[in-house]
């Protein structure tokens, strides 16, 4: 018995077959099966006569670790898994290569480690086993008394049975020997029954010579076959032939084995049992042919009777399905001693080509390219590949609208096509709705294999969807054939870069990118075209209105590569949009040229710089700028023109353009523009951009908001509001003006600013006798806190007017010209005088004509200790402020310098003496602050009432 360790499962199976199913190895457990163990046990028990169970000998088939890990997917698996990817028309570059190395076929059979070569003891003896000297029989005889003999065949070929004599068994088969032994014993000893088994096999000597790894004489088990012997002797060298292994016995070749038959067909008819003295001869390898590429078993094969490529292919397990039958190559050493290459079409006569020793057959894979397929992509429910048929068209592919997703664009869809001739990507736009509705229409285009139909949707960015197509086309572009793409910018639903179908006109292309939006400027659109021969940019001014009128006219031109189309609406910033190309035009302008740009400013919708197109006139520029605004002065505009005298000396001419009149002496809007012209459209004189409103409230007949004309006066306003009511207190009228308020506010803010800085300065300065002026415990924080509290109210913006004078005289001296936002409040007659501030009892008093300021202060209990009565002042009802010490009252009715007459509705204010609070150096500023602040308050008092 030969126990072997095997490397490849194939070989394992083969060998098990060869040995005669002696070992049924469970690969997973690595142990023999239960049935096998029981049988072996029985045999052992028969031999030894004991019934004790032997520990079963485990036959562990140790797998080579390298084999276990070698579970890489086979070539077929790889190819199938590639094919499982979604259908794609992308092509990858394929190298025309095959395997980088080839091995000789079949030799790995011997690479297994056959070190443990002990005979298998428990296997049944083959019936045709020839008994020879050395075999040991176990004979059990049982009758009256059981006896057991263990007898070895002598060198003479006999066994010496006690009480029966010598029995010649050599040369008999096991079966015959059994019969002879039993017969002889049973005939000589009456009544006895015998059981004959072979307990130990003899060893035989065989000789291995030729191209084997370790030639020499081997002692192998008597059961050994040719292959056992080869494997046990580490096998055949790679220089040895697998196809003509000879077994010589007694000088004659008794068997010639072709291992390929065994390996490829499982035919082991030549695997003879070896006998003592057999000689195994492995001749050198014969002719070989390598085969690589897409065949089942790429390897180097030894050829014997194979003569043609087809036969070699059969050795290699034939072609894989992915093999390119038409393009096999045979590399051959020619008679001249050079390598040559034969092209063989394996589908036709290629299989019949004769092979020669040393040939290498390369079977290249087919092109990894999907053909006869069309791809549907985009906004559909079932995107993917579809079978292409002859005469297939769009309606066949999209059999029903059900496969389109909600919101699919019916007006336009695209076919991306590979030009079969020049291998460039092309696109065809078509009307999907028409193609589906009318199968006979032009839109229902005929599909070609590998077409890709892209369905758009109405809402998402279309250019993005096509970016891959554009990118592909960009990659295919060369200097001779620039990228066939165009760009849309501006007022479109789906601006962006689109592939161009040659021969498409502007409007069709606009339709393809989502159509014209309503509100697009039909009079002005720009086509920025790159001259493909000079690569310079130029502009064409397009009138969409004209294009819609004449579909084949100049304004609906055929588009060409690299075109950029700018569409505008009323709102967008045109200059910004076309800034890039305009700048480019400027950059491209060389010496001796003037950049073809013109400028427009003033009362147009989109002032800015525009490209000058050939033949451009003033009216075209006005159109480009979106037209004149309502406030534009329609009679004349000014055109500044740069003139070159003697081509070098620049002058600026100013031309007056008549916008309405047509005189032959006048420059009209038909004037042809020159580069760098600048058109200025004026505004209408005295144009009222924003209507002006004033508000009049209080004691007037019709109070409310009034719209005023330019230079309308208070007097005329009062007439419009119907005059005053009986209760109106004209003297106390409050006139608030925004511009005045702003001015006041600014003055106030500035004053506070200065004060703040001053406070800080004072705080950090050393100062003379500073301690006396400022208490030590007063920190900067305190100062600023006080400042914060003092921050002024909003300045009221009151303007002191003499209402009575204004409305009665209505002349230039007394009247007031109104401004936008003026607010006039005519209060009711007031007969109180308020006294606030540092008095003991701040309150209001009934106005009496006899009383003056100091009287009212007296009525309020007089000034407090902290009061600064010499700084007391009066805010009169009309907003005028005067100190009680004022020597010149505007009224002139004062009694004494210190006792100013007050008017009804006025406020007397007695300020705080700042000196008493702290030692601030600049108390005057403080007073000023208080003063201003309280004026604000006092002025507002009237409003509140």
């Amino acid at each position: 018995m030969i126990k072997i360790l095997m490397k490849a499962p194939v070989v394992l199976v083969l060998f098990v077959t060869a040995v005669g199913q002696l070992v049924v190895a469970d690969e997973r457990l690595g142990v023999s099966t239960l049935e096998d163990m029981q049988r072996r046990q029985a045999i052992v028990a028969a031999q030894t006569g004991s019934t004790e169970t032997h520990q079963p000998e485990r036959i562990i088939v140790v797998k080579d670790p390298s084999v276990i890990s070698d579970d890489q997917p086979s070539q077929i698996e790889q190819k199938v898994s590639n094919a499982l990817d979604p259908v794609s028309l992308e092509e990858e570059i394929q190298q025309q290569t095959v395997q980088s190395s080839l091995e000789l076929f079949g030799y790995e059979m011997f690479s297994g480690n056959a070190a443990t070569f002990t005979p298998i003891s428990g296997a049944p003896v083959p019936q045709d086993y020839v008994i020879g000297p050395g075999d040991t029989f176990t004979i059990q005889a049982y009758s009256a008394a059981d006896v057991q003999y263990t007898l070895t065949v002598t060198r003479e070929g006999m066994i010496l049975v006690p009480e029966a004599g010598a029995i010649s068994v050599s040369g008999l088969t096991f079966d015959e020997a059994k019969g002879v032994i039993s017969k002889t014993i049973e005939s000589q000893r009456i009544g006895i029954k015998t059981v004959v088994t072979l307990s130990e096999l003899r060893s035989i000597q065989v000789m291995l010579v030729g191209e084997v790894v370790q030639p020499g004489s081997y002692a192998v088990s008597g059961f050994s076959t040719l292959i056992n012997a080869l494997i046990s002797s580490s096998g055949i060298k790679r220089t040895g032939s697998l196809r003509n292994i000879q077994v010589k016995r007694g000088g004659k070749v008794i068997a010639s084995m072709d291992l390929y038959k065994l390996l490829l067909n499982g035919d082991d008819s030549a695997n003879v049992y070896l006998r003592q003295g057999d000689l195994i001869f492995v001749p050198p390898i014969g002719a070989t042919v390598g085969i690589a590429g897409d065949v089942l078993r790429p390897a180097i094969y030894e050829i014997r009777q194979e003569r043609t490529v087809g036969q070699v292919l059969r050795l290699a397990g034939d072609l894989l399905p992915t093999a390119n039958k038409a393009q096999a190559q045979i590399e051959r050493v020619s008679n001249a001693g050079l390598y040559t290459l034969l092209q063989a079409d394996l589908a036709k006569h290629g299989k019949g080509i004769e092979v020669k020793n040393g040939d290498l057959i390369r079977v290249l894979p087919i092109l990894d390219k999907m053909d006869d397929v069309v791809l549907l992509s985009g906004h559909v429910l079932t995107p993917g590949g579809y079978q292409w048929r002859k005469k297939m068209n769009i309606a066949d592919l999209i059999s029903s609208t059900n496969i389109l997703r909600q919101g699919a664009e019916f007006d336009v869809a695209m076919v991306q096509r590979e030009n079969r001739r020049d291998k460039r990507t092309e696109v065809i736009y078509f009307n999907l709705g028409e193609a589906l509705a009318n199968k006979a229409s032009d839109s229902n285009i005929r599909l070609q294999p590998r077409d890709q139909v892209i369905i758009f949707n109405t809402h998402s960015a279309r250019a993005e969807q096509l970016s891959r197509v554009v990118l592909k086309m960009k990659r295919e572009a060369t200097a001779d054939s620039p990228v066939k793409s165009i760009e849309f910018k501006g007022f479109l639903r789906h601006p962006g870069v689109y592939p161009l179908q040659p021969g498409t006109r502007l409007l069709d292309m606009i339709n393809n990118v989502g159509g014209l939006e309503s509100g697009v400027d039909q009079d002005y659109a720009l086509l920025a075209r790159t001259d493909l021969s000079t690569d310079r940019l130029y502009f064409v001014q397009i009138s969409l209105r004209e294009a819609l009128r004449a579909k084949n006219g100049d304004h609906n031109p055929m588009l060409q590569s690299k075109d950029k189309i700018y569409l505008f609406d009323k709102d967008m910033n045109r200059s910004e949009l076309i800034n890039d190309p305009v700048e480019r035009i400027k950059r491209e302008t060389g010496f001796g040229e003037i950049a073809p740009v013109v400028q427009v400013s003033g009362a147009v919708f989109h002032p800015g710089t525009y490209p000058m197109v050939p033949g451009m006139r003033v009216k075209d520029l006005v159109k480009a700028a979106g037209g004149m605004k309502e406030e534009a002065y329609g009679i004349a505009a000014t055109l500044s023109r740069q003139v070159l005298l003697d081509n070098e000396f620049s002058r600026t001419d100013s031309l007056s353009i008549s916008l309405t009149r047509k005189g032959h002496l006048l420059e009209t809007t038909d004037l042809i523009l020159h580069p760098k012209d600048h058109l200025v459209l004026r505004e209408k004189p005295e144009w009222v951009e924003k209507p002006k409103h004033v508000t009049i409230e209080g004691e007037v007949i019709y109070p409310g908001s009034y719209r005023i004309d330019k230079r309308e006066s208070l007097c005329s306003l009062v007439q419009r509001v119907g005059g005053f009511t009986e209760d109106a207190y004209l003297f106390g009228s409050v006139f608030l003006r925004e511009s005045v308020r702003k001015k006041e506010q600014k003055a106030l803010d500035r004053m506070f600013d200065q004060l703040e800085r001053l406070a800080a300065d004072v705080h950090v300065s050393q100062g003379v006798e500073k301690d006396q002026k400022m208490p030590k415990d007063q920190s900067a924080e305190d100062v600023f806190r006080v400042l914060k509290q003092l921050s002024p109210e909003k300045a009221p913006g009151r303007m002191v007017i003499d209402m009575e004078e204004a409305v009665t005289h209505c002349d230039e001296v007394s009247d007031v010209v109104l401004e936008d936002g003026d607010r006039i409040i005519v209060p009711k007659v007031q007969d109180e005088v308020s006294v606030i501030g540092q008095v003991y009892f701040p309150t209001s008093h009934k106005y009496r004509s006899g009383r003056a300021a100091l009287d009212y202060i007296g009525l309020s209990g007089g000034t407090k200790e902290l009061a600064q009565h010499e700084h007391a002042y009066i805010v009169q009802a009309n907003g005028e402020v005067m100190s009680v010490r004022s020597k010149a009252s505007t009224w002139g009715w004062f009694m004494s310098p210190s006792n100013v007459k007050v008017t009804p509705g006025s406020t007397v204010y007695v300020p705080l003496s700042v000196d008493r609070i702290n030692g601030r150096e600049s108390f005057a500023t403080w007073v000023d602050i208080f003063y201003k602040n309280t004026i604000g308050v006092a002025a507002m008092i009237n409003l509140i009432k």
Partner: protein, 324 residues
């Protein structure tokens, strides 16, 4: 300076040209002409002797003829009237030159620059001095040479005897109303002359040439004269002598003509530009494609087509095959 000149006058007459050149160098007057270094370029022929005595200003005219032919300029006006102020207001000096002479010199330069062609119109001077000849003002045909001649003997110029420039302008208006076609009036005076009365006179002139005839004019004087009007149109150009700053008091929007300081157009190329703008509109464009004829390589483009800068069709492809 004069002494320097008189001293040099004693030298050989051959040195005259050098004297002139020298004077150009040292006089700090405005250098209107760059005197070329090579004396043969500033030939004696181009020197006007009159100029030499009065001033060192040179004028090397750049005539318009070749330009007119090359650019095929379209004429703007048919009639040309010069009104040169020679009144006592002009008795002063401007940059070392007598103002009266300066005014005449401007006309001369204009005439030297203008194309060799006959214009109808008149070369008028305005002076408070009584006109010795007292003849009726006439519209004649004149050429550049005639102007030159008339300027050579100031006495032979047609004179408007008037007490104010405004009245003189009215008389020009009268003349204009008699001629056919549009007229250009070139008024050469001092800026200080332009007052309200002149402004009104200009307005009258403009209105008169833009309305149908037969309207009356209300004047402060009791006699109102019936005015003959014409719709031929007038362009008024004012050349003011006085300072560099141009005045626009006589210009209104929507009217033809402009005013400019005389010294701004005194140089040859400036004068050429000025004359061109007075007499010519601009290069002709017969096929109306917006490309001037002189650079139009396809001079008969049909209307409404888009052209390129050479005046040929921009989209040739649409003309071929596909254009139905």
């Amino acid at each position: 300076m004069m002494s320097n000149n008189s001293l040099l006058h004693l030298l050989k007459p051959l040195g005259l040209a050098l004297v002139v050149l020298h004077s150009v160098g040292c006089v700090s007057l405005e250098r209107l002409v760059k005197v070329p270094a090579q004396p043969e370029l500033a030939t004696v022929k181009s020197y006007n002797t009159e100029l030499h005595r009065q001033s060192i200003h040179l004028f090397n005219p750049i005539p318009l003829d070749s330009r007119v032919a090359h650019l095929s300029l379209e004429p703007r006006v048919k009639n040309l009237f010069f009104l040169v102020d020679q009144s006592s207001v002009m008795s002063g000096q401007f940059r070392g030159v007598e103002t009266r002479f300066y005014a005449r010199e401007m006309v001369r330069r204009f005439a030297q620059t203008m194309p060799d062609q006959s214009y109808s119109g008149a070369l008028l001077k305005y002076d408070q001095q009584p006109n010795p000849r007292r003849q009726e003002l006439l519209v004649t045909n004149f050429t550049a040479d005639d102007v030159e001649q008339a300027l050579g003997s100031p006495g032979s110029m047609e004179q408007i005897e008037s007490d104010s420039l405004a009245t003189a302008l009215d008389k020009v208006s009268e003349l204009i109303s008699r001629v056919e076609g549009s007229s250009a009036v070139i008024l050469i005076t001092s800026w200080s002359q332009i007052d309200k009365a002149v402004e009104h006179a200009v307005m009258r002139m403009r209105q008169r040439s833009s309305f149908e005839g037969g309207m009356g004019i209300v004047d402060s004087k009791p006699e109102s004269m019936p005015w003959q009007g014409s719709r031929s149109g007038v362009c008024l150009y004012t050349l003011g002598i006085g300072n560099r700053l141009s005045r626009t008091r006589l210009e209104t929007v929507d009217s033809c003509g402009y005013s400019v300081a005389a010294n701004k157009v005194a140089q040859p190329r400036d004068m050429t530009h000025f004359v061109q703008s007075v007499l010519y509109k601009g290069p002709a464009d017969t096929d109306g494609d917006g490309i001037y004829d002189y650079r139009d390589r396809c001079p008969d483009t049909s209307a409404g087509r888009i052209v390129d800068f050479s005046g040929c069709l921009r989209f040739v492809t649409s003309e071929g095959g596909n254009f139905k």
